[in-house]
């Protein structure tokens, strides 16, 4: 799979525990995108949206799932790293930069505002 990401490629993230990351106004908190190990996602890798969600649902049954487009990451200079794993060819992490892992508050907030709810 290509290590480059087209702007429209989607990156999916499951939100667990369910209902934990939604604000009282119904929007998504940026806390959902703060991860000291790097923000793990599954890239669409050319798959249909439905297939991506089915696969993620198997690993995260009944959890909320959101997606962000690669374009949203690029807008805040976040670094998208394609890091396939033994059991997951689509594993991709979003980092603050090429050398720093954790997203800045501004980057996380931007992704939260751009995120699309795929499954809730």
């Amino acid at each position: 799979m290509d290590a480059a990401f087209k702007d429209e490629e989607k990156l999916y993230r499951a939100l667990k525990p369910k209902n934990c990351f939604w604000k009282s106004d119904g929007s998504l908190t940026s806390a959902a995108f703060k991860d000291s190990k790097g923000l793990s996602t599954d890239r669409d890798g050319g798959r249909d949206n439905k297939v991506c969600l089915e696969v993620l649902n198997q690993r995260f049954p009944e959890q909320d799932i959101v997606s962000v487009q690669a374009k949203s990451c690029k807008e805040v200079n976040a670094c998208i790293k394609y890091l396939p794993e033994e059991d997951n060819d689509y594993h991709t992490e979003i980092h603050r930069s090429d050398t720093e892992i954790t997203l800045s508050p501004g980057q996380a907030k931007h992704l939260a505002r751009c995120a699309k709810i795929e499954c809730k």
């Binding site: 939100l15 990351f21 929007s27 703060k34 000291s36």
Partner: protein, 192 residues
């Protein structure tokens, strides 16, 4: 000395907005310390209490006001959102390793206790969330897009804000309820 403190508390229907005004009248040359008043802003028991529609007006001497202990967990001043937040924080303490399915570490009990103490002192109750980087985040957002966020770590408190025209700001704060409340008051455009 006949100084009186009138303490007004008003909440909107969602219980998310708490406006506190302290009006000090008569012959005081020195007003009561704002820091003490701000930390007591959700205090609700009273010597004389009158109801005016949705508002509660309380009359006390400043000495009575400032000597009052802060509301306890089960106290009458707890509003619905404050209780929800404390419950939420209790829930965080039960999260096991890998609580988010992506390998998140547990959230330390010390951090949760610190956050619970702070939640009792905040003039406005925030939305509170765990992160997968050993921190707890609490935040406020307005309809005009302005946003205020605090991220509490074991060793630091980071503040991040966006104003209504999109200008961002990040800074480190001392873990001090008064300083935090001042930032929150500024965000909501009021002073205490």
């Amino acid at each position: 000395m006949s100084a009186l403190t009138y303490h007004y508390q008003r909440e909107n229907s969602a219980g998310t907005l708490l406006v506190s005004l302290a009006v000090i009248s008569l012959a005081f040359t020195q007003v009561a310390q704002p820091s003490v008043i701000s930390q007591n802003s959700s205090f609700n028991s009273c010597a004389i209490r009158q109801e005016y529609g949705y508002s509660t007006v309380t009359k006390q001497t400043i000495a009575e006001y400032n000597s009052t202990t802060l509301p306890q967990k089960e106290g009458p001043a707890m509003n619905e959102k404050q209780m929800k937040n404390l419950k939420k924080l209790d829930d965080f303490s039960k999260y096991p390793v890998n609580w988010n399915g992506y390998g998140a570490p547990t959230i330390s009990c010390d951090l949760i206790a610190k956050m619970k103490g702070l939640a009792l002192l905040l003039n406005y109750q925030p939305d509170i969330f765990p992160t997968a980087r050993r921190s707890i985040q609490f935040e406020y957002e307005k309809e005009d897009g302005s946003y205020l966020e605090f991220e509490l770590f074991n060793d630091k408190l980071q503040m991040y804000s966006i104003n209504s025209v999109g200008t961002e700001s990040t800074s480190l704060l001392d873990f001090d309820a008064k300083a935090i409340n001042e930032e929150i008051n500024k965000f909501y455009g009021c002073s205490i």
